[in-house]
Assembly symmetry: C2
Homo-oligomer: 431 residues x 2
């Protein structure tokens, strides 16, 4: 290897290829990741729990033949600490579950292990994937929030500690930290993946998510999570014919830098010959934001029940959310549930010939400070409708801080969305 120190910056697929080509070994990549973690974890704080290098390598070497012939070849993956792992604590960002050892692996974890991925550790989550931050800092600027709730997954991936990590999204918990940290974030259509062993927060909103540094790695891991026969097979990238542009003000408060980013992205698409159409509706998405808030409050109050026994160990925002959910009129909840259920179909019927929607992944760059994780409104509408989304990095503000834009697809047509996103990723990189 000419530059072994850069191995931690390879994506999953890139690393697998390098190993196949004899340019490095899996152990080289693993060591490069641990080198990076040792150098950066004291500042970044992405990990709630992690294997030591020695334990990891023992696990790899004791079963090397299996790993060598497996799709993921023993490479490391991070798992958000809201997802159960049988060999590591799963604490959900809460003192209530300090040291909690799950009995079983979540299905997604078991699938990764079966494909030869090794769980390097559990990444920091906000308290029960809601608002109260953990210790993680934004690797792009340590004075800023990484976003939440998949804070550690986004930071670990953006900081090149691991090539890929699992997250989950109920409001903005994958897309926002991906946007703030500068990683790729993908949230599957609602119901797309098994959530067995992932701690539910709101059953009508929860989705599994992935964080990586490239769309192709999202596609690879998606294939593994769907138990596809040949997860390494890859479809062609697809240039969209027509894209619906959703400016941030069609959802809610937007920073000027993000207005600029969406305009840049739109200009880039147009320059590539993609037809653009502007989303002009001022009411639809703010309504979906409200529906999302209603559904989330009502359902969280009926999921975090065990924890209600120890309210003194819940943060104030979470106590407030539960109280408001318990006080909510059921009719209001049902109204929101019904509106959200048909929202996606209605939206896509209005724009039948559009291939994807381009929208801000967050209101702007990551805010300064670590007391809050930033505003979630840019994700709420799509999440309420259960649509697949992917956030792409590449654009930055004047100070060079990441500005994420997201593409939104049709429910359960995640494959088409990812094929477009891979094309757009290339266009952003060469812009």
């Amino acid at each position: 290897m000419n530059n072994p120190k850069a191995l931690n910056t390879l994506g999953l697929r890139q690393a697998l290829l390098a190993i196949d080509n004899g340019e490095c070994t899996a152990v080289d990549v693993i060591n490069a990741c641990f080198d990076r973690i040792e150098a950066r974890e004291p500042q970044v704080g992405a990990w709630q729990y992690s294997l030591s290098r020695e334990v990891y390598l023992d696990q790899y070497l004791s079963n090397e033949a299996f790993y060598q012939q497996s799709p993921l070849k023993g490479l490391p993956v991070g798992i958000k600490d809201i997802i159960d792992t049988a060999d590591m604590p799963t604490e959900m960002g809460s003192p209530i579950h300090k040291g909690r050892m799950p009995v079983d692996d979540a299905s997604c974890v078991a699938l990764i292990r079966a494909a030869g991925g090794i769980v390097l550790g559990k990444t920091v989550t906000t308290e029960f994937a809601y608002f109260k931050p953990g210790k993680t800092r934004n690797p792009a600027d340590l004075e800023r929030t990484p976003g939440g709730s998949s804070s550690g997954s986004a930071a670990a991936v953006a900081d090149a500690m691991v090539p890929l990590a699992l997250g989950s999204q109920t409001a903005a918990s994958v897309i926002r930290p991906a946007a703030y940290c500068g990683s790729v974030g993908y949230v599957g259509s609602r119901g797309e993946f098994s959530l067995r062993g992932g701690q539910p927060l709101a059953q009508s909103l929860d989705s599994l998510g992935l964080l990586s540094r490239s769309v192709e790695d999202i596609e690879l891991m998606r294939a593994i999570l769907l138990r596809q026969n040949d997860p390494l097979a890859q479809a062609d990238a697809v240039k969209p014919r027509k894209v619906l542009i959703c400016q941030g003000d069609k959802v809610g408060e937007t920073d000027p830098a993000m207005v600029e980013a969406i305009n840049q992205a739109a200009a880039l698409l147009e320059g590539q010959g993609v037809e653009l159409v502007q989303f002009e509706d001022e009411e639809f998405l703010p309504q979906m934001v409200q529906h999302h808030i209603q559904i989330m409050g009502y359902e969280v109050a009926r999921n975090l029940v065990v924890e209600s026994r120890q309210p003194e160990l819940l943060s104030e925002p979470l106590q407030d959310l539960i109280s408001s959910g318990l006080a909510m009129e059921r009719g209001l909840y049902l109204e929101s549930l019904n509106a959200a259920a048909v929202g996606g179909d209605n939206l896509w019927q209005r724009f039948g010939d559009v291939d994807a929607i381009l929208a801000p992944a967050a209101p702007g760059v990551a805010p300064l400070g670590h007391e809050k994780t930033g505003a979630p409104h840019m994700s709420r509408p799509w999440q309420a409708m259960g649509l697949p989304v992917i956030s792409l990095p590449g654009l930055v503000d004047e100070a060079g801080l990441p500005l994420g834009v997201q593409l939104v697809g049709r429910a359960h047509d995640d494959d088409s969305l990812l094929a477009l996103a891979r094309w757009f990723e290339g266009a952003l990189a060469s812009a």
Copy 2:
């Protein structure tokens, strides 16, 4: 008490009232339940795990003041062994999970405990809530299957061992055993209740269910599971204005005794002045049956992942289901998923002025033998569409064996369905 031995046959609400009126104590009811279990469990085999009388009474007496002022006053509830309990093993009917001790209570279990219910034990489930039977026999005829997968819950309730038990339904796992054993079975709209801590089988189909001996007890427990402020409040029973009659042959194979039962139930409605309309579509429900089968196969194969590590410990039918699910073309799955997602709305739009649908809860009475749990097709269409259903006992064949009929409602309008069901339960009882 004039007849303390009958206390175990009281419903939850009846027992609470009797306690309030000073006719008996909670301990009397608890003892009556244990007397019944001691007498009948060797034949019925409803329990996978249960507290001893002593341990139960210790639990009650050590916190008597709490129980006395609680909604459920310390009365016993059974929990299907697919739902996690922190103080009892949860084995999912599989040797793979022998002795498995969950870390946390499921949300539904925590809600019952918070309302003053005591978990008497875990009721027998088929293997992972699929087809392979447990040890339970049908209390109405020990030579017959109790149905599955909530076998133990249906049998324990029908045999008056406990007034209420939790179940779950992915295909026909609540409605069929309720129909076969002669209990009331209720399956909530999809997404209605938190499934946190319930083991998922197929995320687009799984619903929580309840088994009891009266509709009013279903309503009471539903209110507790929804964390309603006053779970003991009760709405009026509602006589339907118009009911859609779905004969069994509109779904699939039907025994003559069930044809007769539906005709009897329809005649009863008509006699009470309820307008009837016949469901004449020959294709819609069989298509929904097929969609259900596709969705279930595809998703089960992606939920039972941990278990795939030990295929030799899976039953042959389950291995076959997983294999077929893994081999299934994704396009077929998505077609079924989409058809099922709009099926309920389409159906209810066609019959906008109908208050409920009356349909068989099973093809006939419980089949003889214990190798299988009976055919699930009568539930598959409604389950695919995510509609709330309730199975009512009261009708019997010539030999006196239970024949269940079910009422189907609109998604998330479970309250209206239960109000109608309580009226119909009264009509059936006085017929």
